[in-house]
Symmetry: C2
Subunit: 387 residues, 2 copies
């Protein structure tokens, strides 16, 4: 190095940007939601080593609290070092072998994503589909399981793109009857909507950190039971994804503590604190809080003459889809809310693009103050956008 | 929902853990390194939406500053939403097609990992190997390229497991001559060790956030040039990894801003601030600082009679491997440092397990105060461990 003559440094990309100061936002869209300030404080501690004894204990605590919020005893319960989408991919990557039949129940954007991912792992992908805003009945699911006899059946519990909460009772029994794994997306339900992983006989699930858990985005809670583990252990080759390979991750998160990758330690400080606060509040209390605040929102929206997209018994407490009234430019309205109030409300995705707004009340943000605020703004501002 | 009778919540995993308060550590191991407190402050701001106009601007700024620290014009330069290992996998996942010959120059732990990953993408993997602590000569590389004629040649610039800095001059020309892509691991060099991506004709590279950049772990800087992009675009099928698929990520990070996954926004606040501080200091200054402090460390260690594992002209300024003196229990000593001083020093990995300590001086931690501190402690404490 000493003898090497170095070229001069090129400064064309050396931009003089100011300090990273973000605007204050109230995030009432499909996510991320605002994080609890206590979580942000925990997150901002100085990093420690990923094999530090303190960190190793913290990992076990995160796992244990994830078991609580998921209501599962699964040993293999851990946050993937990526966002919810990474955890989503991990569920498929670890159990799907080339040629496996994977049946996806598609009723929104994230069902389509599951199908895309499963195809990349060379699954033989089949789907049943419903309009965006509907849920599947047990009969529809049984019929499809009988027809396709898949190795894995995947369904979204809480569809963020439609605001539908899929009733889960009985699906696990059907999957056992037809001998397939049940894989469930709980991204917009974990911590906020009743969810009983073991009771519902769910074999694989994933979620995110930035919704019901009140933590910033960046970690993807993941869990698999012994049935799923059995399938993984019988694979012919390695998991075709190194980063998300649970057989390797298990050596780091399990008792061996073998180095796999340098963990995102600060994000794990955050999720540990977020889960701790949730355990302190209690799952039942959090579920009730979300239920009550969404009820307040639904009543308020209907009182000002707005129509909700999903029928009442299928509505998600975390994410409400509101029909955009005829003649209103939905996007112009959400831009106005962001520019003038610093409030984020989501627009529609995919089939619902241009048709609905998506209002989220998740985790830390699910409180009556926020409900009244957004209702008041809709009341006073929306008339300006009607033609 | 209203009519459903819910099972009661199982509280067995509802543990009453205390607040998330981490011990203060001085991280002088192989990484993570301590983050700049200014970066930690930026990181802890309230999250904003991943499609918020402010965030979209921030993304472009992060990309531009990454181009500066890598000294590249590559359009496809972005932080993967995972740790350095995710970015490592992304380089292979995007360009390797089944049956492609991939040649890995292995001279430490991370070369082996590249080989493992490439195999998962069904590459035909070949390797050349050197002892841990050595570097490859141009002749050795040319001979191997001639013999194997690979589609991709991968090498680690800064081997964190050995403390070797691979001389890069001429390797890019050889890869062009033998018509293969040059893939380089810059995990322990980016921002801290002279590195000229375009000048050195590197086609694909990856790094991490927690070393030379002084940010916590959690993001994996990634870059590919047009030669690599061409290979990706000619793929027969989809990239077999959804989360790391650059053709999809490009639609989010590029001008389209199409939603891919919910970005880890807080980590991106952090890396933006970290890169801004580095641009403010200037790459040349940071490189000199690392060089000077490592020189101070090397001299000091030799003065107290310790031997360094790597010969001087191949030593990395960021990571120094120190031979554990005969009779000293290396692990007991690092445990003592952590327990009594809150200082983390690394032990050896793989072939160097039990043989060396690894002392890191990276990013925010590369300063003379830390060098004097660790030297003083070695001076006073190490004799207690000698038999």
């Amino acid at each position: 190095m000493a003898t090497q003559i170095l070229p001069s440094v090129d400064n064309r990309h050396r931009k003089d940007f100011g300090p990273t100061t973000c605007p204050e936002r109230l995030l009432l869209g499909p996510g991320p939601s605002n994080a609890d300030p206590v979580v942000l404080k925990a997150l901002s501690q100085s990093p420690i080593g990923h094999l530090d004894p303190f960190y190793v204990d913290l990992m076990s605590e995160v796992q244990e609290l994830l078991r609580y919020v998921w209501q599962t005893d699964n040993r293999l319960t851990l946050p993937m070092s990526g966002t919810g989408s990474a955890a989503m991919e991990a569920t498929l990557a670890n159990v799907v072998e080339p040629g496996d039949k994977v049946l996806i129940a598609i009723k929104g954007y994230f069902g389509h994503r599951l199908a895309d991912m499963a195809g990349r792992y060379k699954a033989n992908v089949f789907s049943i589909q419903k309009d965006w805003g509907q849920a599947f009945s047990l009969d529809e699911i049984e019929e499809a399981l009988k027809e396709y006899r898949p190795a894995v059946f995947a369904i979204v519990h809480a569809e963020t793109s439609t605001g539908v909460c899929q009733p889960m009772n009985g699906i696990g029994d059907l999957c056992r009857k037809y001998d397939c794994l049940l894989l469930v997306d709980t991204v917009t339900s974990l911590g906020a909507v009743p969810l009983y992983l073991d009771e519902w006989k769910i074999d694989l699930a994933y979620s995110c950190s930035q919704k019901g858990l009140s933590c910033p985005p960046g970690l993807g809670p993941f869990t698999m039971n012994e049935r799923a583990e059995d399938k993984m252990n019988k694979r012919k080759g390695k998991v075709p994804n190194w980063y998300l390979d649970v057989s390797l991750l298990n050596k780091y998160w399990g008792s061996d503590r073998v180095y796999h990758h340098t963990a995102p330690v600060n994000m794990n400080f955050g999720i540990r604190e977020a889960l701790r606060l949730l355990a302190e509040e209690g799952l039942d209390s959090s579920w009730s809080r979300h239920k009550n605040n969404s009820q307040l929102l639904w009543d308020g929206l209907e009182n000002i003459g707005l129509e909700l997209h999903v029928k009442k018994d299928l509505r998600l407490p975390t994410l409400t889809t509101v029909k955009i009234p005829k003649g209103v430019d939905g996007k112009a309205f959400t831009k106005y809310l962001l520019d003038n109030y610093g409030i984020e409300v989501g627009v529609g995705l995919g089939d619902l693009s241009g048709k609905v707004w998506r209002i989220g009340l998740m985790g830390y943000n699910s409180n009556s103050k926020n409900v009244h605020k957004i209702l008041d703004i809709f009341k006073t501002e929306l008339p300006k956008f009607r033609v």
